[in-house]
């Protein structure tokens, strides 16, 4: 990707993207007896939603100039995720990793990430922080709002498109997915944008990008280096929510009542099924006869 030549004489945007390395959940298995997670051989990937956030940041950088910094909190291995982001085209990568971060819930995670962003922001004042709409392991969609709140950024979640950014006038217009439609919002920089899937197509870095990424130093910070002021607010200790029990969903006792199939023509089989349905749900027949039934709709 070549940058626009005029990028230097524009104000440019300081863009920060939070990415998380997550286990590829499609491949997780649960130990049938102990209910523990069998992580053996489960590959890790960059949280898929975060790649859309990264691409959106790169797109803005290419249009307006500036730089993209990817930030992650995680174990040392999460460096791979950052390197992948560099290979796609990010300019800088920072990993915050510390034993004290372990076991963090969303409150503690957003505290640690916000601390690091504050530290980074001293060098390069933050224009935008981008996150995925949610992670596929935590699945909470809370870390983004947590960061916005702590840093006092305008919070724009579930963004399906960034229509316009004006770095000089510090304005931004986005389309936000909401119930039953899309809100078109005009807001101000600095802001936090969490993006939904599919708002762009994630690019492939060029040879030069991947080479630079392969050679780049991923900056690694401890809690102290990240500028965390109160380590008690990190990790397990800083997490008000605690998981007390992990268990498998209980199997239902009886199995389905099986409809005898052999020797029946399809129409006979269908009648048998329908009879069973209507004996078990007698009210359904009347309701169906009245036309589309809508229950419980206030």
């Amino acid at each position: 990707m070549t940058r626009p030549p005029h990028a230097a004489d524009r104000p440019g945007l300081n863009l920060f993207v939070c990415i998380k390395q997550v286990p590829d959940s499609a491949q997780i298995r649960v130990h049938p007896v102990t209910n523990t997670i069998m992580r053996q051989g489960v590959p890790t990937i960059v949280n898929p939603y975060d790649l859309f956030a990264l691409e959106e940041a790169l797109r803005l950088r290419d249009e307006y100039g500036g730089s993209v910094t990817v930030l992650s909190m995680g174990p040392p291995m999460a460096e791979e995720a950052l390197r992948r982001a560099l290979g796609i085209g990010a300019d800088h990568a920072v990993l915050i990793t510390d034993r004290r971060f372990a076991g963090a819930d969303t409150l503690a995670t957003s505290y640690a990430l916000a601390s690091a962003l504050t530290t980074l922001g001293r060098e390069q004042p933050i224009d935008m922080v981008l996150t995925g709409k949610q992670t596929i392991d935590g699945d909470t969609a809370q870390v983004g709002p947590g960061i916005a709140r702590r840093l006092g950024l305008e919070q724009l979640t579930y963004v399906a498109a960034i229509d316009r950014v004006d770095p000089l006038r510090r304005e931004i217009v986005v389309r936000r997915r909401s119930e039953g439609g899309v809100q078109v919002l005009a807001s101000r920089l600095p802001c936090l944008v969490s993006v939904v899937e599919g708002l762009n197509e994630v690019r492939r870095g060029a040879v030069a990008d991947v080479l630079r990424a392969a050679r780049a130093e991923v900056v690694t910070w401890s809690a102290t280096e990240a500028g965390v002021e109160d380590p008690m607010r990190c990790g397990l200790r800083g997490s008000p929510t605690v998981v007390r029990r992990v268990f498998a969903p209980s199997p239902r006792q009886e199995r389905a009542q099986m409809v005898a199939v052999t020797g029946k023509r399809p129409s006979q089989l269908a009648d048998a099924v329908l009879d069973l349905v209507l004996t078990q749900q007698p009210k359904l027949e009347a309701a169906l006869a009245d036309g589309p039934v809508r229950r419980n709709r206030p």
Binding site: I37, T106, A186, V243, F247, A248, P249, A256, A270, R297
Partner: protein, 361 residues
């Protein structure tokens, strides 16, 4: 005298609630009012909140934010009929459309002033946006996408949610702070019966924030095109197909049966991944949760992530070629047969029985 704490002190300290949180009382449900309409998930939560409040022997309150007018009046009444003892409401033009800043401001202030011990919100784009910001403002815990809520022996909230891609459930507690916050996805909890004429206290609050102070402005709202309105979550009859249907074209059979039954249709995740149906049609943990009276699953194996989205259905009929498919572990009626022949036969049977024809789609 300063001595090192005895072993185990740390864990005891976290379990014990600090003084300042001890007199948090009551269960609150945030009632989501958007463009004149209350999101049904709010009423589902009222049913759940009522139960929790009764168990705790405390009050259930609804929180309503919105512009002054008829809509908020109607919503207030509805909140009472669905079980609220009290409605805290803030009616201000600034709150006409949802925006994070004024809503976070209003809800956080109300919570700080009235100190509920539990605060529930719907896991909708609005609810999740608001909950994350409020929890951070209040520095408290928030459990997302709960599938079950209960009051524990020590009167704390036990919030259960899926974890690790849905293969497991976990129960989460909020320790050392209040309120205990949780979000719940639409259709996970049952809709309670409204009690007409039920009344309660309505407490008005000032927003204390002018439009000038609000940074983000709503320029427009573009409603989704209504023609393909997906009403899965609230349909009474849902017919769904899985990979067993083998091709995008065969979903016509699913649509036809759904139409004959006056219901809606959906699918399993791989079907949307293949692009056979749009993402809004996906049912399950990462799609819609449904609670129909009748659910017909054709060519769906019944993986746990699918199961959690349909378990609330009153009656589940499964059609699958494989007698050992896990779907028969939770379906009520099972048919081991080829869905491609059973579906059209069922459509005919329904049309014959009900004496009407499917509105061809």
């Amino acid at each position: 005298m300063t001595t090192s704490p005895p072993p185990g002190a740390a864990s005891r300290r976290t379990k014990e609630l600090p003084e300042r949180y001890r007199n948090h009382r009551g269960v609150w449900v945030f009632v989501e009012l958007e463009r004149g309409r209350v999101h049904p998930v709010s009423f589902e939560l009222m049913g759940e909140g009522r139960r929790l409040a009764d168990e705790l022997g405390s009050e259930l309150a609804a929180v309503l934010l919105g512009a002054p007018g008829e809509a908020i009046e109607r919503a207030t009444m509805a909140a009472l009929t669905y079980g609220a003892d009290r409605v805290h409401r803030c009616a201000d033009p600034v709150l006409a459309d949802y925006r994070n800043q004024p809503y976070t401001h209003a809800l956080s202030e109300l919570v700080e002033r009235h100190r509920p011990e539990i605060l529930l919100l719907g896991a909708t784009p609005l609810g999740r946006d608001l909950a994350g910001a409020v929890a951070t403002t209040l520095q408290t815990g928030l459990t997302a996408d709960c599938t079950a809520l209960a009051v524990d022996d020590d009167k704390s909230l036990a919030a259960t949610r899926p974890t690790f891609g849905g293969s497991l459930l976990c129960t989460i507690y909020t320790q050392g702070v209040r309120p205990q916050m949780a979000t719940v996805r639409p259709r996970v909890m049952a809709m309670p019966e409204p009690i007409e004429g039920r009344s309660g206290a309505v407490v008005e609050h000032d927003l204390g924030l002018g439009e000038d102070a609000v940074v983000t402005k709503v320029l427009d709202f573009v409603a989704d095109v209504a023609t393909d309105d997906v009403n899965l979550a609230y349909a009474d009859v849902v017919v769904a197909g899985g990979m067993g249907l083998q091709s995008a074209e065969n979903f016509r059979l699913v649509r036809d049966l759904a139409a004959a039954l006056g219901g809606d249709y959906g699918c399993s995740r791989p079907v949307t991944q293949k692009g056979w149906l749009p993402a809004e049609r996906q049912i399950g943990q990462t799609g819609r949760t449904i609670r129909p009276r009748l659910y017909i699953a054709a060519g769906i194996s019944g993986a746990i992530q699918h199961r959690v989205g349909v378990e609330g259905a009153d009656l589940i009929v499964a059609i699958n070629l494989d007698a050992n498919a896990p779907i028969f572990d939770f379906a009520h009626i099972g048919v081991v047969a080829d869905a491609l022949t059973v579906l059209p036969a069922l459509t005919h049977a329904v049309e014959r029985r009900l004496g009407r024809h499917a509105l061809a789609s």
